[in-house]
């Protein structure tokens, strides 16, 4: 059912290599990574290529397909013309190891240099309180699957190897932004760090990182530009300066606070067997969740066992009411 299609794959290592031609069978519904697997299984068992989840969730199979940085598992063959030659090359920005595998340690080194999350002092685990609106911005950046396509496509390092030392790349700008916007992060020097150590100034916002992001994170608009603006805030903005003087308010360096707290929580509330039975939980639309529906009895497993009938026969109750004066038989029958 498949058709033979023409592929060109870069083969080689650091000592050199070239683009080689292959004719591979392509079936309906396949992605580029499937073709590489078919190549491995039928023609070139030693073709090196990274991959893991095949579902666009791990970010391993980054490669350049017809010159564009993409995930192999997310590039469907149907996006190409029937007779189009597909050229697959390794990421250009990083040192080559073999075939489609590159040495991405640059990214891990930069990750290691970026200061980690600083937990707020005096807030015990379990007492962190954050509002959903406050965490949403950072959550967008935490969607990052570290495929490093943004790092690869960024011309600052792609075309200028010498900038690698001074420039961390989009992946780590979103990390800096994530932490700077984290409602409980205790550090206040993230902006300075981004400016001075990460090389935020190298970015000329040509937005290629956003264009290639498979997770559709708005890297430029939501992370890099806000970080640039935050740097400006701190250094040059006259109105901010005035605002601080007049209102004696300093939102910029707003310290991390835990919000309304405390209620120390250890391991759930005390257990009681005399818990009243509850109705089945329903979703917003008033239906029960299918996971519950799939159970033999509706409403999820009963805490009392599936075939327990209510009310319980009185002589089976192991509940002894506390000796109060008004304890009548009627009370005990209730709950």
């Amino acid at each position: 059912m498949g058709t033979k299609r023409h592929f060109r794959v870069w083969r080689g290592d650091e000592s050199g290599g070239d683009i080689q031609d292959y004719d591979v069978e392509v079936n309906e519904g396949e992605v580029v990574l499937d073709i590489i697997h078919r190549l491995q299984a039928t023609q070139t068992p030693d073709l090196a290529c990274r991959w893991n989840c095949k579902a666009g969730k791990c970010g391993s199979c980054s490669m350049e397909i017809n010159g564009k940085p993409k995930l192999g598992c997310m590039t469907r063959m149907s996006t190409f013309e029937e007779d189009e030659t597909v050229t697959i090359t390794p990421l250009r920005t990083f040192p080559i190891i073999r075939d489609l595998v590159t040495d991405v340690s640059f990214n891990y080194e930069k990750a290691r240099e970026t200061p980690a999350f600083a937990p707020p002092a005096g807030v015990a685990p379990g007492q962190y309180r954050m509002k959903q609106v406050d965490v949403e911005r950072s959550q967008e950046f935490r969607k990052c699957i570290e495929c490093f396509l943004c790092q690869n496509t960024c011309h600052v390092v792609r075309d200028h190897e010498e900038n690698k030392a001074a420039f961390s790349g989009p992946r780590f700008f979103i990390r800096a932004a994530e932490l700077d916007m984290h409602p409980l992060d205790a550090r206040t020097d993230r902006k300075d760090y981004a400016q001075a150590e990460q090389g935020l100034g190298f970015c000329n916002i040509t937005k290629c990182c956003t264009e290639v992001c498979p997770e559709h994170i708005k890297i430029t608009d939501n992370a890099i530009i806000p970080m640039k603006e935050r740097v400006v805030d701190r250094r040059y903005d006259p109105l901010v300066w005035l605002g601080r003087k007049i209102f004696r308010r300093d939102q910029l360096d707003e310290p991390a606070h835990a919000g309304a707290v405390p209620s120390v929580h250890t391991a759930g509330t005390p257990f009681t067997q005399a818990r009243p039975a509850e109705g089945a939980r329903v979703r917003d639309d008033g239906r029960m969740d299918v996971a519950e529906l799939a159970l033999p009895t509706q409403g999820g497993p009963s805490p009392f066992g599936d075939d327990q009938e209510f009310p319980l026969p009185l002589d089976h109750l192991n509940y002894t009411p506390p000796p109060t004066e008004k304890a009548t038989e009627k009370d005990t029958k209730g709950h």
Partner: protein, 634 residues
Amino acid sequence: MTTRIERHHYDVVVIGAGGAGLRAAIEARLAGKRTAIISKSLFGKAHTVMAEGGAAAAMGNVNSKDNWMVHFRDTMRGGKFLNNFRMAELHAKEAPERIWELETYGALFDRTKDGKISQRNFGGHEYPRLAHVGDRTGLELIRTLQQKIVSLQQEDFAETGSYDAKIKVFAETTITELLLDGDQVAGAFGYYRESGEFLLLEAPAVVLATGGVGRSYKVTSNSWEYTGDGHALALRAGATLINMEFLQFHPTGMVWPPSVKGILVTESVRGDGGVLRNSDGKRFMFNYVPDVFRKQYADTEEEADRWYDDPDNNRRPPELLPRDEVARAINNEVKEGRGTKAGGVYLDVSTRMPAEKIIKRLPSMHHQFKELADVDITKQPMEVGPTCHYVMGGVEVDPDSAAASGTVTGLFAAGEVSGGMHGSNRLGGNSLSDLLVFGKRAGEHASAYVDALAKRPKVATADVEAALDVALAPLNRQSGENPYTLQQDLQAVMGDLVGIIRRAGELTDALKRLQEIKQRVTNVGAVGGRRYNPGWHLALDLRNMLVVSECTAKAALEREESRGGHTREDFPGMNPQWRKVNLVCSLDKSGDVHLERKPLPKMRGELISLFERTELSKYLTDDELTEFDALEAK
């Protein structure tokens, strides 16, 4: 070709860089141990990222009635009482602390209105219990732990000037052999995938956290790393595996297009009106309603259709039968030739609901099929079939210390590679919390074990040479059998004969064929050199997959009942006698798999008292019930 071997010395070596491995490494490093993390792929790419639902922990943020005892009961119930009760207990008790800890590492879970960690409902959990971040909780977990490790490395850097002083990640490195000194773990031998260079890590304690075995199956939601390495390493080191017959299959995984084979299709598709049809266009589920469910399920399409709007006066459509029933039905349709070409059946919502409604109700599914498969589920049916999802069985461990049982000491296991915690079936959301709870325990006890050692075990040169020979063997047989073909054959045997529904005859057949494949694996070859050679890597993984598959097949043949993730067509019911038995798998010197029965540890009185007698009576033998009654009477 050089055979230079890089040597390293560590206190604790953690094999596996998923949730459990990273958590163990953090704990070992916090205990002051020099720790190595072995990651088969790049750092942070572990299969943990695929977990979507959440991490179950009885924090009681959404419903304050939740607590560890309810969680414990849910877990035991889900595992059909075959769980190691102590593991389930520790898991339920410690999960909230482990989740809260993640927040101090920088995790950002979705929040409740009052700013606590939000928790969601999930099948089998009595209360909303799953801490989550949208549908990417696994990614959040792995990234958080990864960043915590970086933060620890930064501390070390500040102190010593070297990031790797106390904790080092060996990315894209595979361990092929554990080395022993007598019965003590002395080190691990492996290779860098990138360069093909070998390395020897000398360490008195090894934590296995290598995940599952799904790659032995044709259709699986697991990635290539899941070749059962940890299971096999443990076996060869003298440890034992339990419950290997229990594999969780999800009834609806994608089977077409091939690129996404195995990826899960959420159950809500059926709950929202999706129907299953075979290639003749027939809604076949009506033929598969077991007698016990007749009363609750509709027997005409008309009634079933009415149910979606009026569930009170109609019986449910049979598509909503329990997972194993649906999986069994799909399996049977396909086996009898009424499946699609790709070996699945059709799951159709496109003819059931208007397009806007589908997009509103099933946004993520619509997106998943659109992006990954170019299938518009508002216009076309999906093709689905059962997919191998999780292995409940694994290394038999001591519940408190996560130390592996068997003859070996110094070996620990946590996460999917360990067995017992989930019994015969895992509840959704329990795996992520399992990773954290037992990952921490493994790291902690591995460190304690190192502290208690009087003398460091030594690696014998002969063992290293032997391991080296084994690793190089496929490369020396350039014309040997193609590893990809062998893997396909193995997957065919496991998928067809040791799949979701098992029969004695097929299992016997499978064991015979596994023996044949075993012979062929000894002759597997790999062309090319050592540098990043996937053919070679697969050739080395094959023997792990094979030995684990053999355990599964043997145990499946032995256990003559159906329970949780093990369904025998010839023994359809649960048998209380079998509940008392774990099947323990071990390896002898010649490499043959042995199986023995071992009694399940008995639940402590105060724990068993958490259950009602009526419920217990479904699982326990009469003798056990008598004992329970005596306990209750006290």
